[in-house]
Amino acid sequence: MTTQVREIPHKVNIATSGLLSWIMTVDHKRIGILYLFSAFIFFLVGGIEALLMRIQLAQPDNKFLSPDVYNQIFTMHGTTMIFLVVMPLAAGFGNYLVPLMIGARDMAFPKLNALSYWTYLFGGVFMYSSFAFGGAPNDGWFSYAPLTEKAFSPTHGMDFWVMGILMLGLATTIGSINFIVTIIQLRAPGMTLTKLPLFVWTTFVTSFLAVFSLPSLTTAVLLLLLDRQLGSHFYNTAEGGSALLWQHLFWFFGHPEVYILILPAMGIVSMVIPVFSSKPLFGYPAVVFSTIAIGFLGFTVWAHHMFATGMPTASLLFFSADSFLIGVPTGVKIFAWLGTMWKGKLRFMTPMLFSIGFVALFLIGGLDGIHLAVVPVDWQITDSYYVVAHIHYVLFGGAIFGIFSGIYYWFPKMTGRLLGESLGKWHFWLMFIGMNMVFMPMHVLGLEGMPRRIYTYGPGRGWEIWNFIETIGAAIIAISVFIFVVNFFLTMLRAPTHHESDPWDGFTLEWTTSSPPPNYNFAEIPTVRSRRPLWDKKHPELADWKEETA
């Protein structure tokens, strides 16, 4: 095998501009942008679904949506946000940034990278086409069998769901293998594992989680498909099947999935906070080890989603204690981010605001998780709105805020243009306020006994006021997203300026290239001597490597 590291390579491009150039592309930056763009469209769709639900729940005995439509809407909202929005947004950032951050010219397998994207897009469109073929899936994003068996779910919705999930799982598996191989094989000279940017680390661990947890989901949905289409009895309890089998298989995937969704956002925040605090990340090794620890522990806590299924006491104790344990590495990270900001020269620009919002909201969601890990508490509030509050604090307050932080931070890298700062601040504050208005009252509703997934509720239970506030909050979030879209178009319509190529005074290799970078990224593969190669270049007298090697 020949290594031609110093020669600028020629990529074979069938088309260099226009629509065809995007369809045919195998360039990691373009595939990254395709991922981000498609996932954002799905984000708008999933958001509209959320708004429909909030309108329906705004007052008791509302007739806005029928129960049947409501079931389809909440199922598609959850499925969309998890599989079609947060995972591909993370994949989009990973595709765009990982090769740039490690000093490589592309991913290890550029064609597989394109295959992964198109499989994802097709899987998403396929799932949504179910609305046109007799009804969307309607049993919730975790599709508990035997409720999803043909006898109880006779439309084709579940079949669309199963086949869509198989495609999305395939896309993620291919993408993850590509990330792992790229990160192991294509690092620039000197880029040892201890110098890897945190976002690369979290993508690395996330990819392992996906590769080893998704097969469990594949098995779960395949067996369901066989039950539904060929009449086998895996989940059919009347014929000796097992209902718990689904839950175990699903959650053995489902809990690592939670970390698949949150770790990339943690990686983004760990890149943004140091730059806007003008300090290196505090406790880098501790953050890396806690990422790895979360990865391992994530595989051992799945049954805490099943406390109410009647498990033996020993299992309850194990899964409860284990779930507390996972709070430790998470807490380590929170302190590392605070430690980075401590005595730093803070700049409260939009990316930083979203990162700080992430830390605050994710902390609340994490503490809710600790409540739910207490078995007797979980027995009381499981399947109530308390759980809905918890997942949205970690996935909306956590993952989505982290991702918006990344969008504002790397937008100049991808386009050469800086998103408008004042509209950005409006976006952040409205989203932060709206988010808390929607999800904070859900804690109260959960404690007052409002079950999740009901399409309406009767008056006089004290739930009206909270539900009404939540609907107002949802409208505020919608306005904030609209402001972001306006900001995007205003920014793209004006010409880029020169000073916008490294507007944040960044630390890592992606900012050493032009914005946007050339096709081949690096004319000469850089040599790395510390965790902040660009800082070293800008401040040779204060270079990190002098300290790190001393």
């Binding site: 010219r105 592309d106 469990s216 009895h233 298989l249 053995f252």
Partner: protein
């Protein structure tokens, strides 16, 4: 591998092997979770293993066929390392034929087992595990077949034959999974 993606100058691992090992890792979790389903359903009321199940003729024959094919696959890799291209081709071809023989044997067994996917829990588990394994054997046959075509075109040499190594590794994996399934479904 093209010049866009030259490996890390310090990395000694083969990019293809790394990708294959991770793929086999994810495949293994898939088979393990299917085996978990098998264990979970064993005690169910409709388990119903057919009486004819003690007839091990075809499964045993297939085990021998697959083990011989593994030996031949190994020999094909050894041949190209010594730059012996004709031995590579003949060994690959016999491996492929034995693989097809194995699949034919499986199909015969499936149709004569007195068992259907929907008539008992055992039927469901049996056909799912065996069916997915058989699909992997076919995938291996395709993999080795492509290598055979490339070998005929003179693509491989003692220095450059990564695809051969990967195909052989995949074949080992398929055989290893079979041994586990054979023990689990017929012997235990």
């Amino acid at each position: 591998m093209n010049s866009m993606t030259s490996a890390h100058p310090m990395s000694k691992a083969s990019t293809g092997k790394l990708a294959l090992f991770i793929t086999l890792g994810t495949e293994s979790v898939f088979f393990v979770t299917l085996l978990v389903a098998y264990i979970a359903l064993r005690d169910s009321v409709t388990w119903n293993v057919p009486h004819t199940w003690t007839r091990l003729t075809i499964p045993l024959l297939n085990t021998v066929v697959l083990l011989v094919s593994v030996l031949l696959a190994w020999l094909s890799g050894a041949a190209i390392r010594r730059d012996n291209k004709s031995a590579l081709k003949s060994n690959l071809l016999t491996t492929i034929l034995l693989g097809l023989f194995f699949v034919a044997g499986q199909i015969y067994e499936f149709s004569h087992a007195g068992l259907h996917i929907n008539d008992s829990s055992f039927g469901g588990v049996f056909f799912t595990l065996m069916g997915f394994h058989a699909l992997h054997v076919l995938a291996g046959v395709v993999f080795l077949g492509l290598n055979y075509v490339r070998a005929s075109l003179g693509d491989f040499s003692a220095q450059q034959h990564e695809a051969v190594e990967l195909g052989v590794l995949f074949w080992y994996y398929v055989a290893a999974v079979w041994l586990v399934l054979f023990v689990a479904l017929y012997l235990v």
